[in-house]
């Protein structure tokens, strides 16, 4: 039973990270029907910025959670700037073009950003300091859940609650929903949809940066390629949950994380991907639009 709980919690941790990144895919898709293949790279850039900030701060003698928080903040700012620019440079000029064009542009930007980091930094795996200390109060349950996992779970939970409140109650959140449901009608009531799209990219990038920093400090290394791998998983989670749906991204992420964790724990870690993608295929056969996806796209 304890083993089950351990796997469950580690699956939840993994899944919450997938969910965090999947939200960026799904929100962008919901508004402009584009799969932003470069989203994983924004996550990777967040992790890299945190890595550099941590390095500098460690030289100046700072330690622990304060470093993580400052590195996280700067990572968010950088990633948001990249996400905003990405949309402006690579996608906005292609608004109104056939759907394939921005998709190709997205793949291009993904490759470009990977290689840019590869050349500007290195192709090596860089050691990321473990910034989350082992909390004393966690000692009694340390064999089931680690302190780092707890921090990840709490951070992602709080982030998702804040995001939900933002989408539901703020003016920009309502504008995002209106734009998603009917873009030209949104323009007819006076919503500046270009601005809404920019904000969507910025929010998605912030979530990805948070994920990138948490994972880097959890796994203990960064590399120019981590964005691609995380991106594929998160994209799978978004499709699993129903791309375009915000709650779907969260559920898809958690389901994927749990599946992987149990498959790795009870069968073999060699099989976790097989089960993850097997699950995706199964769900897409049973519910082609994903767990929470709208089965019919109706526009009244």
């Amino acid at each position: 039973m304890e083993y089950f709980i351990e796997l469950f919690l580690s699956g939840l941790t993994r899944g919450s990270i997938y969910a965090l990144i999947a939200l960026g895919y799904t929100m962008v898709y919901g508004i402009i029907q584009l799969i932003n293949f470069a989203h994983g790279e924004i996550y990777m850039i967040g992790a890299f910025v945190a890595y550099i900030v941590c390095g500098v701060m460690t030289i100046y003698g700072f330690h622990g959670v304060s470093v993580l928080i400052i590195a996280g903040m700067l990572a968010i700012i950088y990633s948001c700037a990249y996400g905003y620019t990405l949309e402006k440079v690579a996608y906005r000029p292609l608004r109104g073009a056939p759907r394939l064009s921005p998709l190709i542009s997205a793949i291009g930007m993904s490759i470009f950003l990977q290689n840019y980091v590869l050349l500007a930094q290195t192709s090596d795996f860089l050691p990321f300091p473990a910034l989350i200390p082992d909390f004393e109060f966690m000692e009694p349950v340390a064999h089931i859940i680690g302190s780092a996992e707890l921090v990840i779970l709490i951070t992602t939970l709080v982030t998702m609650i804040l995001l939900t409140l933002l989408i539901k109650y703020t003016k920009i959140g309502k504008a995002m929903r209106a734009t998603q449901q009917d873009m030209s009608m949104a323009r007819l009531v006076g919503i500046n949809v270009d601005q809404v799209i920019s904000v969507t990219f910025i929010i998605g990038s912030a979530l990805a940066a948070i994920g990138g920093v948490l994972v880097a400090s959890y796994i203990g290394q960064v590399n120019f390629y981590i964005g691609f791998l995380a991106g594929v998983k998160a994209f799978t989670a978004a499709v699993l949950g129903g791309i375009g749906s915000v709650p779907g991204a969260v559920i898809g992420g958690l389901v994927l994380g749990l599946t992987e964790s149990f498959a790795a724990g009870y069968i073999s870690s060699d099989y976790e991907d097989v089960f993850a993608f097997g699950l995706l295929v199964l769900i897409l056969i049973l519910r082609p639009s994903g767990i929470m996806g709208r089965t019919t796209k109706q526009k009244v």
């Binding site: 009917d182 323009r187 007819l188 009531v189 006076g190 009244v300």
Partner: protein, 235 residues
């Protein structure tokens, strides 16, 4: 108040509006009638900046607006109730109304206007928290009109508000349009296929065929016009 001069609008290479000239005076109710595909919706979308004209000029209260963005045009007081109502399906009735007031910041006055539209259409108040997509067609039309009113328009554009509604509801909607014009002094530009009722309501009318304006006259004169009677009134 609004003046379209030789407006030409294209969809790609297809020209939908060919030299459209329309004049609307403040306080008037003007109707635009025409067959399917004549270019009525395109005319309204050109005014609102969704399909900006390639040639020609659109002026509102003396200043050119055809190069402005839709949100800037809304800000000037031009609002549209589009064809097919276009309610935000996943938003509640109240949220849809709030979207109508998107560019306003006067919270207290918005609240007052909310009560005003609930007075106009009491059924909407009963449906406050219902999702827009689950309303009936008539309720959606009422909501679409109310949403536009929430912006306090000076010029209200309506695209076939009677489409697909029962005669009784159409009657009610037309009454309300008249009321908005009389009580708020809002200028109305009404696109309709229901030519008979539209001409009875309007002061003046334009007839459009294949992207061109073919007739302009007092509404009463158009009602008596033989060609109009044959083509649009089925008489």
């Amino acid at each position: 108040m609004l003046r379209l001069q030789n407006v030409q609008t294209y969809y790609g290479n297809i020209q939908a509006l060919k030299d459209v000239t329309i004049d609307i005076e403040e306080g008037e109710i003007v109707t635009l009638i025409g067959a399917n595909g004549a270019g009525k919706t395109t005319t309204l979308m050109s005014i609102c900046g969704i399909t900006p004209p390639r040639k020609g000029e659109i002026a509102f209260k003396g200043s050119r607006i055809h190069q402005l963005k839709p949100e800037q045009i809304v800000k000037l007081g031009i609002c549209q109730v589009p064809e097919g109502r276009r309610i935000f399906p996943g938003m509640t009735v109240v949220e849809n109304l709030e979207m109508g007031a998107f560019l306003r910041n006067d919270k207290a006055a918005i609240k007052g206007d909310l009560d005003m539209v609930f007075d106009l259409f009491p059924i909407l108040e009963q449906r406050r928290t219902q999702l827009g997509g689950t309303l009936s067609g008539g309720e959606q039309q009422m909501l679409a009109i109310s949403r536009a009113l929430m912006a306090r328009p000076r010029l209200l554009l309506l695209d076939e508000p009677s489409l697909g509604l029962a005669p009784l509801i159409i009657q009610q909607i037309f009454e309300i349009i008249k009321k908005i014009n009389k009580e708020n002094g809002t200028t109305i530009f009404l696109v309709e296929q229901n030519a008979n009722q539209a001409l009875k309501l309007a002061d003046r009318g334009y007839v459009m065929e294949n992207g061109r304006i073919t007739l302009v006259d007092k509404a009463s004169a158009l009602l008596a016009n033989d060609e109009v009677r044959k083509a649009y009134l089925g008489l």
